[in-house]
Amino acid sequence: MEQKASAVDLDEIVLRYRPVVSFKVKKSLGSQTPDWEDVVNEIITQVIEKVQNGEFRGESSIGTFIYTITSRRIIDFIRQKTRVLKEAPEPAPWPDPCEDAEARERSRILAEAIKRLKPKFKEVLELYYYQELSRNEVAERLGISPRRVSERINYAQKLLRKMIKK
């Protein structure tokens, strides 16, 4: 699992970890925070510098190394903003899908596919994700087992994958 520092390919780091770092930053700060992309760029730059300076010695995996840098930078960012604004930026519970045209289009296609699902899948998605009931509450409401709730969600996801690929 652990990767030797000498074997680290910087291009691969940027390619593989930019989406992961972006996800974590947007989840923590909210994608409506205008600075989130700057924070991601700073983190990637920091990672590259630290690897080049030999600070990554392969004691942990490169993923854990980048996660640690990401978490620290996010905490610093919130502290800075808190000092300036007297309050932390409001984190979005999930990244906004409407941040660019492509994502907006993907979200629209996905929403249309969900609408076409059979009622037994739609009702599970509505209760579990839209109304945010717990798995047990959904199970109780529909008279099925909690395990069945998970199965229906996973199957719905599988169906949606197929519908979108068509």
Binding site: R16, F23, E90, W94, L110, K122, L125, Y129
Partner: protein, 217 residues
């Protein structure tokens, strides 16, 4: 392929149900596991679509009702001959005259509701069901106990002042996305429902229930 034990935590993480060490362990894991990260991105898109377009996705489809009703209607229509239909229509007309023309003359006085200055109705109670406690995110709908058929409900949502009002004949109403978008963490809200009879008479007023969208930790 063997399922990764962290896979089952994807939903909890995205719905902000993981806390402290569990959350950190999960985050560290997806920095190391491409498969879990890919699954999480896919699930996140699903949740985002549901959250942002849920009102549209889950609205009842009028077409579905039509599809069910149309064959039934055709079946019933072909059940009688035109002459039989004429008889049925005449019988229905007589019935209508009896119901709307004659019976109201024997009907007692409408129920009297005693209203206080603040419009509180004594004689019928309206119970609010959801949300009645603080919530983690802006609620997707309001729900109250039904007072039966032919009742129109008027819901009012307050923050520092009235921010939204809507009427419905159901005992539940979805909150429009544009209103939900402005209901952010830390704010306090209150909501109240008034019920009106088909003649427009106020028949019940609920208490005003307060809830807060809990600030993120």
């Amino acid at each position: 392929m063997k399922k990764c034990p962290f896979e089952s935590q994807i939903d909890d993480y995205l719905l902000n149900r993981l806390e402290g060490g569990d959350k950190e362990a999960f985050e560290e894991h997806y920095f190391n596991c491409q498969r879990c990260f890919r699954l999480m991105e896919e699930r996140n898109e699903l949740i985002s679509a549901v959250k942002t377009r849920g009102a549209w996705i889950f609205e009842p489809e009028p077409d579905a009702e039509k599809k069910v009703l149309l064959p039934t209607f055709e079946k019933v229509f072909s059940y009688f001959t035109p002459r039989q239909w004429a008889t049925v229509a005449a019988a229905a007309a007589v019935l209508l005259v009896a119901v709307f023309g004659v019976l109201p003359r024997f009907k007692g006085a409408p129920p009297q509701f005693v209203l206080s200055e603040s419009e509180v109705v004594r004689g019928a109670s309206l119970t609010l069901m959801s949300p009645v406690i603080d919530t983690a995110v802006a609620p997707a709908y309001f729900e109250w106990k039904s007072l039966g058929e032919d009742v129109e409900y008027k819901l009012s949502l307050y923050n520092s002042g009235l921010i939204w009002t809507a009427t419905t004949r159901e005992n539940r109403i979805s909150i429009p996305e544009e209103i939900r978008a402005n209901m952010t963490a830390g704010q306090k809200f209150a909501w109240q429902v008034r019920a009106y009879s088909s003649r427009g008479t106020l028949i019940a007023v609920s208490s005003r229930v307060e809830f807060q969208i809990k600030p993120a930790e």
